[in-house]
């Protein structure tokens, strides 16, 4: 029924778009529409499209005094440095490979473990027979989503500092304390745990919303046929949820080079002891502008990230189009 409506809606849309009258006619007769678009037009030009032109900075030795187009053009030198061109180790020991590898591994771990946990929690919550329990659990799990990363930094410090909760606990059971802020090897686990912790409530809500949309008569039929709880989960819920999981995971893969900067920077700060295991592209770019300025190099890394990201999204969309054309972005 809903599908029929959308089809007829689309047909009327097509009919309407067929009678095109040209932009002048539209500017005159639909001027209110155009006026209403002015603020967003200005915003996206200033804050999204002008910075795109600014990628030119990646090809310069940036000079604050001279500005974007006054700085010296140096071609691909910044990129050559990042990609280790001409160095002994070549690409595999270049900064960009280290950053890309770290970024990919972190995001993959967060994505896969996070998704698995969110799906398990959503399915379990749906089956548990207490609505009150579900509501309060969801509220509790959603809490970390609402707090700022600055507060996450405080929480991490409170747990991990030399006299933090974890070390207090270790002392109380007679184990030696760990100075986490000087031991880089623990941080991949710490960061992944915090990322999962922060995203659990949000992801659970998304999957729970998908689960709530399933046709209940299927479950009733299965129940009448004598399917057990585990059978219903394995043979109805999971197969129905699979497309959602796949699509959401694929789209997250499209953004896998980006993000989690807030989390990394608030946990690690300018602690160079931890950098070997925690440096990601976003952190590198941020440090290049805010901490030890190297504008050209940072822009080059950012440009690489954007371009590689664009390729990934296009690729992911192509895959989604193959499996689930309705969900493709473009």
């Amino acid at each position: 029924m809903a599908q029929l409506e959308t089809i007829t809606h689309q047909v009327t849309l097509q009919k309407k778009t067929q009678k095109k009258k040209g932009i002048i006619h539209s500017l005159v007769h639909q001027r209110t529409y155009w006026i209403m678009l002015i603020p967003s037009f200005i915003f996206f030009i200033l804050f999204a499209y002008l910075p795109m032109i600014g990628v030119y900075i990646a090809f310069t030795r940036y000079d604050y005094g001279a500005g974007i187009f006054g700085s010296k053009f140096i071609g691909f030198q910044n990129f050559e440095y990042l990609f280790g061109v001409g160095t002994e180790g070549g690409f595999w020991s270049s900064p960009i490979w280290m950053l890309t590898r770290n970024t990919l591994l972190y995001n993959l771990a967060i994505l896969l473990l996070g998704t698995a946990l969110q799906v398990v929690v959503a399915i379990t919550l749906k089956e548990l027979p207490s609505k009150k329990f579900r509501k309060s659990v969801q509220t509790a799990m959603f809490l970390p989503y609402f707090i700022s990363f600055a507060v996450v930094g405080v929480i991490a410090y409170n747990l991990l500092s030399t006299h933090g909760f974890i070390n207090t606990f270790l002392t109380s059971i007679g184990v030696d304390t760990v100075n986490f802020y000087q031991e880089p090897q623990y941080w991949p686990y710490i960061i992944v745990l915090f990322a999962i912790w922060k995203g659990l409530g949000y992801g659970t809500v998304v999957y729970f919303a998908a689960l709530s949309g399933f046709d209940e008569s299927v479950y009733e039929a299965a129940y009448i046929d004598g399917a057990t709880l585990m059978q219903r989960i394995m043979h109805i819920t999971l197969p129905l949820l699979r497309p959602t999981i796949i699509i959401l995971t694929l789209f997250s893969l499209g953004g896998i080079l980006k993000g989690q900067f807030d989390l990394f920077y608030n946990l690690v700060r300018d602690n160079s002891l931890l950098l070997p295991t925690t440096n990601i592209i976003d952190l590198f770019v941020y440090r290049a502008v805010a901490i030890s300025p190297n504008i050209g190099l940072g822009s080059a890394a950012g440009f690489y990230q954007s371009l590689f990201g664009l390729v990934l999204v296009v690729l992911v969309n192509w895959v989604v189009k193959k499996i689930e054309p309705d969900n493709a972005l473009f």
């Binding site: 539209s26 500005g67 909760f165």
Partner: protein, 301 residues
């Protein structure tokens, strides 16, 4: 409703595996929920503890040597914190209002089937989610071209809207029949009047959702200030917290200098509680709008 019916039926049948599943489910999920809450409890109890005992014995679940000393010290010299609160509230309110109005206008136009340029404009917006100049060009444009450095507008304008919220609003508007607009037009209403007096009241849930997402973003934003604001009297709450955590010297600036027993550890925690307080109080009531936002927005932007 329906799932409850199914659930109650399964209860009657009481399969053995189901009972096991429920038991494990309640315990594991309960523990997970606790893990989400525990850090907050630790922060609050730490903020109410005696700094000297904390330094000697470490933190625990319950306040050690209960005292409100950390809060008192912060509020004794309340100028910094009140100033940061004012900045944050101002930025949040102004940013959210401008954001919601401009997002709604754009979303409304893009949802009109009689606007033939809607696909082109959508692409203009959508492309910004696919490709960006990156942080540094963004920074250079903001500081060197738009001269926003150290302006309060630097905290507002750069994140006032994004393509995702516009599409979310557009999707919501599309569900309202266009016939409503057509008939209002026949009655002689202008397009702007249709937008403000017919569509906006109908779009209240979408407006609430976007307003809350935007407000939360502004409230929690430390990042924009870290790059664009160097003058301390324009620092918002979260960046103040960020600075307090990163250096003890700031703590000395913001509080009355007491040579002995500076409550730096517990003060950090007290600051975290103070900056998050409004969000903690507000979010249980607001969370349903976030859920709506997630479901209307769906997978598609």
């Amino acid at each position: 409703m329906m799932s409850q019916a199914v659930a109650s039926k399964t209860k009657i049948k009481t399969e053995k595996t189901a009972i096991l599943f429920y038991t494990i489910g309640f315990v594991v999920i309960g523990l997970l929920a606790l893990a989400c809450l525990l850090p907050f409890i630790l922060v609050i109890s730490g903020s109410l503890s005696n700094n000297a005992i904390i330094s000697a014995e470490g933190y625990s679940l319950w306040p050690k040597g209960f005292t409100t000393y950390a809060y008192q010290t912060i509020f004794e010299n309340a100028k910094t914190i009140i100033n940061a609160y004012t900045i944050t509230v101002l930025v949040t309110v102004v940013g959210t209002v401008i954001g919601v109005v401009t997002i709604a206008m754009t979303g409304f136009v893009l949802s009109r089937p009689d606007f033939q340029y809607r696909y082109g404009y959508s692409f203009f917006l959508y492309f910004t989610t696919l490709f960006s100049g990156g942080l540094i060009p963004w920074y250079i444009i903001n500081t060197q071209v738009l001269h926003l450095k150290n302006s309060i507008w630097a905290l507002i304008l750069p994140s006032v809207m994004n393509a995702f919220f516009i599409f979310l609003f557009k999707n919501f508007m599309r569900a309202i029949p266009h016939d409503l607009v057509e008939s209002a037009r026949i009655d002689g209403a202008s397009d702007f009047r249709i937008f403000s007096q017919i569509m906006m009241p109908l779009a209240k849930p979408a407006i609430a959702t976007i307003a809350l997402f935007t407000a939360l973003h502004y409230w929690n934003d430390w990042f924009t200030a870290s790059l664009l604001i160097t003058e301390e009297d324009k620092h918002p709450l979260q960046f103040l917290l960020f600075r307090i955590l990163s250096s003890a010297s700031v703590v000395v600036d913001t509080s009355v200098i007491r040579e002995e027993a500076l409550p730096s550890e517990t003060m950090k925690l007290a600051m975290a509680v103070i900056t998050t307080g409004p969000v903690l109080l507000f979010y249980p009531f607001a969370q349903k709008y976030f859920v709506t936002g997630l479901t209307i927005g769906g997978v598609k932007g």
